[in-house]
Amino acid sequence: MTGLIMVGGVSIIVAVFFIFVFIAFKIMPLFRAAEVSEAQTFVVPDKGILSFGVDESRQMLYVLTEAGDLYFLPLAEEGGEVPAFTVDAGLAGDFELHSFYHDLQRDRFVLTSNDGRVQVKEIRFTQDFSGGTANPVVRPSINLLPEVRLGTENRPAFGAVYSAGDRQRLVAALQETGDGRTTVRAAILTQRRTPFGPGPLQIGAQADLLDLLSGEPKQILALGTGDGLVVAYTDGRIEFFSINAQAETRRVQGFDPFAERTGASFSRMEFILGDQTIVFFDETGYHVAWNLAFIPEEARRLFIPSKTFDDLPGPLESFAPSRRNKTFLVTSGNFARLSLLTTMATRWQANLDFDIHQAIIAPRYDALIFLDTRSRLHIKEMVDDHPIAGFTAFFARIQYEGRPGRIWDWQSDGGADFERKLSMVPLMIGTLKGTVYAMFIAVPIALLSAVYVSQFLRPSLKRVVKPTMEIMASLPSVILGFFAGMWLSPIISNAVPSVMLAVIGIFVGALITGLVWTRLPKHIRLRVPTGWEFFFVLGPALFVAFLGWQFGQVVENWLFVQYDESLGRDVGSFRMWVVQVLGWDFETRNALVVGFAMGFAVIPIIFTISEDSMSNVPNAFRSGSLALGASRWQTAMRIVIPTAAAGIFSALMIGFGRAIGETMIMVMATGNAVVQDFNPFTGMRTLSANIAVEISEAEQNGTLYRTLFLCAFILFVFTFTLNTFAELLRQWLRKRYRAVE
């Protein structure tokens, strides 16, 4: 028999340990850096390569040569020379290539000529799976946009950019002027809609920013929306201009990203995926990121400083953003580093054994590809499944794109224009909030009733009350959550003062009746049999609570009068008062509702266990105390509760554990919005509810999937620490109030 118990106990410990290990294994990959393998090397023909890119399936390279030609290089076998072919007619005879801009996110070259023309070439790959092999046949093609001629002087243009926003398309470039200065010229491209689809692109209004510029421009970038230009001056200052469909240009903002570095001079700036953030490099390898953010005071989007990265060992030579996530690859000499914008984390870095001419991140974020200065191509396979995860992402305040300020936030569905936000902190706060409100309501009620039932109620009534409570404990929480969300939340939210007054009314009513009771003449008082007093208190208490409920409306119409715009008159509304006067948020499914519903789930547990432990206090103690002339209340307070302290404490802890892990009530009775405050009128998102809500979105072994395991792990750690601490305290209490054997 004891052997059986041993086996049972040990296997429980083993099972818990196994779960722990399992969860730990699931979350470990989140904290791994990128793994980059040894390189696979190809020799590419030396045609004077300016820049290269690669298709999705990494079968075909495309390169731009100094002569302005585009070549395609199928990557077949390692080591061998790669044959080159072209599908490009090349540049028109009079287009002398002066500069290029390679948009790696979109496989697009923006080329400029010596006489002020701009050409945009977009490389397209089609994948043909008809061959039946795993690897499709890749067929390249080139899309040539209409040529734009900037200005009228036919002077050399350089640093051209092209942006195709949803509403506006923009071509812009730097151009020399006759008097030796440099200006910025921009042209709007228009496209008419025809019944047969979009018509051909046409060149619309043009702008010359010369009068707006405040220095010698060195590089420009066009916002992804096509309605803004960022101009960098040689001295490192940046100016941000807006441009509309009529090519009217206005200066929006000016700033200096290198203000902290004296004497720094500008070298380059590039967008990160999503075109919300620009990384600025100076000539020493120092680089910082600024992102667009909506500034409420200004009611518009401006650039604000967001991130600083570790310096590169030397000046930047090559930059490549990922088109999958917000990482970017930078190189200097033989040094290469893969950084993540969001957390500023270095995913990988190394000194390679060749000098890097250019490096790119493979489109699927599964390899890093380097072209060295001796025309050799090195492909390094990479495994980095969870680039955005990590301690910083989970626990630190982060400045996200789009809004100012460093915050903790959870928003699992990220994308190009939307950073994934995976902070555990608001979920932990939400968990604590839900638990605190639940305990706030449950503990006084449960403990007081346990004291009452165990110490004062007639045993015959107790035999009815206890099983009732136990049935309550077995109510499925989904039912409680359903009731709370559907029925209770509108009632509570529409009548907060009534609810408050009713709750206060119960206590006040009970207290007043109690006072009146003690003042009653003895001959009335002593006629009520011991243990039945409850019913003489219950009636008046309920009556006062009812009065409180009724009076709530009066109070609302009296103290909380607010002007209702939709009705056009003053109304008494506590809800509007909270929003307008206190400036707090108010949700229908809020922490109060959760408190009540969770209270329902937790009260029976705390009640049952603490009532048991109080009833289990040896009767000898009780009769000893009573025989010494103590009242029942004194006996309860001085003898029973201290002796049962360990059990009462366990009850609280088990209730706490239930509240912390409770899921269905949380999911159903709150709006599950991520909050970080303890406002009673907003809901919360708890760790457990988060798992339940997000589980359907989580792709197996994906970042979200593992992050949900992290939620579970934190919950586990929460309860584990809590229980350990509680057990220690309980042991101490038990020793202190040990009953005599």
Binding site: R458, P459, S460, K522, H523, L526, R527, T530, P618, A620, F621, R622, S623, G624, S625, L626, A627, L628, G629, A630, S631, Q634, R638, I639, P642, T643, R736, Y737, R738, A739, V740
Partner: protein
């Protein structure tokens, strides 16, 4: 009349007691007692217990000695479904008077249980418990009460250096004497003892018996015991119960030397069922 009783209670607990002129301090009259509404365990008891004497209740197990004892301080009130007929008076006042508060009754009556039941508190706090619940918290007074009660229970010398330690650290005999000290701390008039020595060894028993001799100078003591020698040694009067009925009640000497009832004789001489 209830008033006079009340004031007397208060006056007594504070002031020294003057010897009562009334010999029959506790009077039990035509007393019937029922558990669970109908299960009668005491039948038509009539019994006078004199002041500042030791009265012993003896009788076979289950005959109702404890039930009668617990009625005297109304500890039976805690039990559901009890009922009684007849009356018990102390100093001429009924303890069942609806206008009498049980708490003030119990303050006049100390009780020592069969199994020692110190509270899970320090020795000191155990003793002063009855004062604290009466709202008396003056340190000087408490200190004085602790010493007096412990001396009264012949325990002072043994524990005076460890008053703040847990009462559970005491031996069984010490614990029982602690419970006696606790019962007399608030100077009750009556001390009820339900088999106080049944869990003790002969030496500890001896100490408690000596103690009872001392205590009867001050208190009216009622003791339930199964030990005939003990009854003979400590008590002045002895009542013999059988099946809920009072069979014989007389001077202890008479009961043991010359019982008037054959059942009594059989019981005290150990020839009983």
């Amino acid at each position: 009349m209830s008033h006079s009783f009340q004031t007397k209670v208060q006056a007594r607990s504070a002031a020294e007691k003057e010897p009562s002129t009334q010999p029959d301090f506790i009077q039990v009259r035509d007393f019937n007692f029922y558990y669970d509404g109908h299960k009668q365990v005491l039948f038509d008891l009539n019994l006078d217990i004199p002041k500042q004497k030791v009265t012993a209740f003896i009788g076979p197990s289950g005959c109702g000695k404890s039930t009668l004892l617990r009625n005297i301080n109304r500890m039976n009130d805690l039990i559901d479904g009890i009922r009684h007929e007849g009356d018990i008076t102390i100093d001429g006042h009924s303890i069942f008077d609806p206008l009498l508060e049980v708490i003030s009754l119990r303050k006049r009556i100390g009780m020592v249980f069969q199994k020692s039941n110190p509270f899970p508190k320090s020795i000191y706090e155990n003793i002063v418990y009855s004062l604290r619940v009466a709202g008396r918290n003056r340190k000087a007074e408490l200190d004085e009460v602790v010493e007096r009660s412990l001396r009264g229970a012949a325990l002072w010398e043994e524990v005076k250096d460890r008053l703040q330690e847990s009462a559970f650290g005491l031996s069984g005999g010490q614990m029982q004497r602690l419970c006696i000290a606790r019962a007399i701390a608030n100077r009750p008039e009556i001390l009820l003892m339900d088999e106080p020595c049944s869990a003790l060894d002969p030496i500890a028993t001896g100490k408690v018996e000596n103690l009872i001799h001392e205590l009867k100078k001050e208190f009216t003591i009622v003791i339930v015991t199964h030990n005939m020698q003990q009854a003979a040694r400590v008590s002045d009067r002895t009542a013999f119960f059988y099946l809920g009925k009072l069979i014989e009640y007389d001077e202890t000497e008479k009961i043991f030397m010359n019982p008037g009832n054959p059942q009594t004789e059989a019981y005290v001489s150990g020839r009983f069922g």
